[in-house]
């Protein structure tokens, strides 16, 4: 027998309690991992070198306010700007409200010069550009509704008082959110009787050095106008968009704290019971020569092992689950990706280990301080 074997035997002596404790810890760690992954997906959308060159100009007051189309010419003249496209959130309904997916009115010849990382067949792109009522759709939305190129769809406007009738002329893949639908801004304008507005402008700048000067120049150009602008990077824009849901970081942080606290209580309670009912045995170990540090190590190892077993089950379980299910479908398009990163996995396991250590400190300390004579008087 080894010391490790002895620790394992002790851990396994009450299998029902062990199983329930490991399940409690694993469930808590599963929730923790899921929440942290959700937080990451919401607050840290994938950032590529291409996305670093994309800027969004919107109304300074809020996204709900629109900008005049005529701003486009002045934005295009700012040194460092390569290409600018009108970009309006349509927010229509396809057949039923539950069939949500993002739809945007854009300038078809420019949009894939801005989203350069998206892959589109040149012939399909050409067909999209040439036909006024054409649209191009991300592969995930195509697969979700079983659409094919040439299919006709109608979007029912909710924000805008029009119902675009579109024909699918192309599919794009990779690089950017694969759930979007893009259609012609001109067609949108026509349906809206030449309203002359756009939700935002999306633009691509020449290089990273041009990012800040372009932001400053655009916003300075429209200062003191009727519609002042706010220009920001794509990442800043997405973070601002997420913040519209409220203080998600704080909400998820609070829930995670409650989960962690519950885990401490569960593990500490188990370890207290396990040690309490073994006080006499611990006293015997001391009598036959184990010192306080060694007894503490035995208890710590057992608690750590128990928490880590729960942690592995919960964190790796979350990773395995989210790697094998279509999160996009499961969340009805709310999350496009749901990657449990190595960093989140490591955080979960580190947390489990720390909790294992913390939760045994009080009972282990009591067992160290207990005299052998007192311990031997403990009844079973």
């Amino acid at each position: 027998m080894t010391i490790a074997g002895f620790i394992l035997r002790n851990a396994l002596r009450n299998k029902r309690r062990l199983t329930l404790t490991i399940l409690s810890v694993s469930l808590s760690l599963f929730l923790f991992t899921t929440l942290q992954t959700a937080l990451r997906e919401l607050t840290q959308p994938p950032s590529t070198s291409d996305s670093a060159l994309r800027l969004i100009t919107r109304h300074r007051v809020s996204l709900a306010n629109v900008l005049p189309e005529k701003y486009q010419y002045r934005i295009q003249q700012v040194p460092g700007v390569e290409v600018v496209s009108k970009f309006t959130w349509f927010g229509g309904i396809y057949q039923d409200e539950k069939n949500f997916f993002p739809q945007f009115a854009v300038e078809p010849e420019k949009i894939f010069r801005i989203f350069t990382e998206a892959k589109v067949d040149p012939l399909e792109l050409d067909a999209f550009i040439k036909e006024r009522t054409a649209c191009i759709v991300g592969i995930k939305t195509m697969e979700r509704f079983g659409w094919k190129i040439g299919d006709r769809i109608t979007l029912r406007g909710t924000i805008w008082d029009c119902n675009p009738e579109l024909v699918i002329r192309g599919v794009y893949r990779e690089g950017i959110d694969e759930t979007n639908l893009f259609f012609h801004h001109d067609y949108f304008n026509e349906l809206m009787n030449d309203l002359g507005v756009t939700g935002t402008f999306w633009l691509r700048v020449r290089d990273e050095a041009a990012v800040q000067p372009v932001i400053d120049a655009i916003d300075a150009s429209f200062r003191n106008s009727d519609a002042e602008t706010k220009t920001e990077t794509e990442r800043a824009f997405q973070l601002g968009f997420v913040s519209m849901f409220g203080n998600i970081k704080m909400l998820i942080g609070s829930i995670s704290t409650v989960i962690v606290f519950t885990m401490v209580l569960v593990t500490a309670s188990t370890m207290s019971m396990a040690i309490r009912e073994r006080m006499r045995e611990l006293a015997v170990l001391k009598a036959i020569g184990f010192n306080g540090r060694q007894v503490f190590s035995l208890i710590l190892a057992e608690s750590f092992g128990l928490a880590m077993a729960g942690g592995l089950l919960g964190c790796v379980g979350a990773w395995a689950l989210f790697s094998n299910i279509d999160v996009y479908k499961a969340t009805q398009g709310f999350f496009i990706k749901f990657d449990v990163t190595p960093h989140i996995l490591a955080s979960g396991l580190l947390l489990a280990g720390l909790l294992g250590a913390i939760s045994c400190i009080a009972p282990a300390w009591a067992s160290i301080r207990m005299s052998v004579v007192t311990g031997l008087k403990e009844t079973d």
Binding site: M1, T2, N10, L12, L285, A287, I288, G289
Partner: protein
């Protein structure tokens, strides 16, 4: 015989709330190497306290307890733990075997703290179990053994490190008459044939009669020190 235990003016006072209770009062005695001593007395006489101090699991309030040249009261807790591992073999009234371990593993426990290899440990454990007549039961767990057999495993655990002293606290207190006799005969054999020094606390005059010497305590004082007839 050379004294293996030398106790001088030993006093142990416990605090119970605001009251001081004197468990041992100014006791002095010598126990020679190879002796078999029974400590007798009514409840509260201090016999268990005296045994605990000699075994290094309790400390005197005053006086000294020197075991093979070491004043155990002067050792730190860590030193004392190591000292117990090398010098003391415990036999308890309730056996105190670890229920999740087999007889073999229970006996092996004190050896895990030594530098012995697994094969050396195995040889020691088998020899100890052979000595108590339980080699054939070494893979049984405590719940699969009778009370007498459990106590013999506990004796094997006490023996396995070849300690200076074997201390037994009411070793027959939880046994039927037949098992008690077997355990006492085993202790006698260990003392007589292997030269082990044994100190045993007991209430039972029949058990005490197996020792070479009986010390009578009452109210923390040593009343009588007598040789048993052989």
């Amino acid at each position: 015989m050379t004294p293996i235990v030398q106790i001088r003016e030993l006093t142990r006072v416990y605090q119970q709330g605001e009251i001081d209770v004197t468990a041992l009062d100014n006791i002095s005695l010598d126990i020679p190497d190879g002796d078999f001593v029974a400590l007798m007395g009514p409840s509260g006489s201090g016999k268990s306290t005296l045994l605990h101090i000699m075994a290094g699991i309790d400390r005197p309030t005053r006086g000294s307890c020197v075991v093979r040249g070491v004043d155990v009261a002067k050792l730190s807790e860590t030193e004392l733990a190591e000292w117990r591992n090398h010098h003391i073999g415990f036999v308890f009234q309730t056996f105190n075997l670890i229920p999740v371990l087999t007889a073999f593993e229970n006996v092996e426990m004190p050896l895990l703290l030594t530098g012995l290899t697994a094969s050396e440990r195995r040889a020691h454990v088998e020899a100890a179990l052979e000595l108590v007549g339980l080699k054939d039961r070494m893979h049984h767990q405590p719940r699969q053994l009778s009370g007498g057999q459990e106590q013999r495993v506990a004796i094997a655990r006490a023996l396995v490190t070849d300690p200076t002293l074997i201390v037994a606290d009411e070793p027959t207190g939880n046994l039927d008459a037949k098992s008690a006799t077997e355990v006492l005969n085993l202790l006698v054999a260990l003392n007589r044939d292997a030269g082990k020094t044994i100190i045993m606390v007991t209430h039972d005059p029949k058990a005490a009669a197996h020792a070479r010497r009986v010390l009578h305590l009452e109210k923390g004082e040593l009343l009588k020190d007598e040789e048993t007839p052989r």
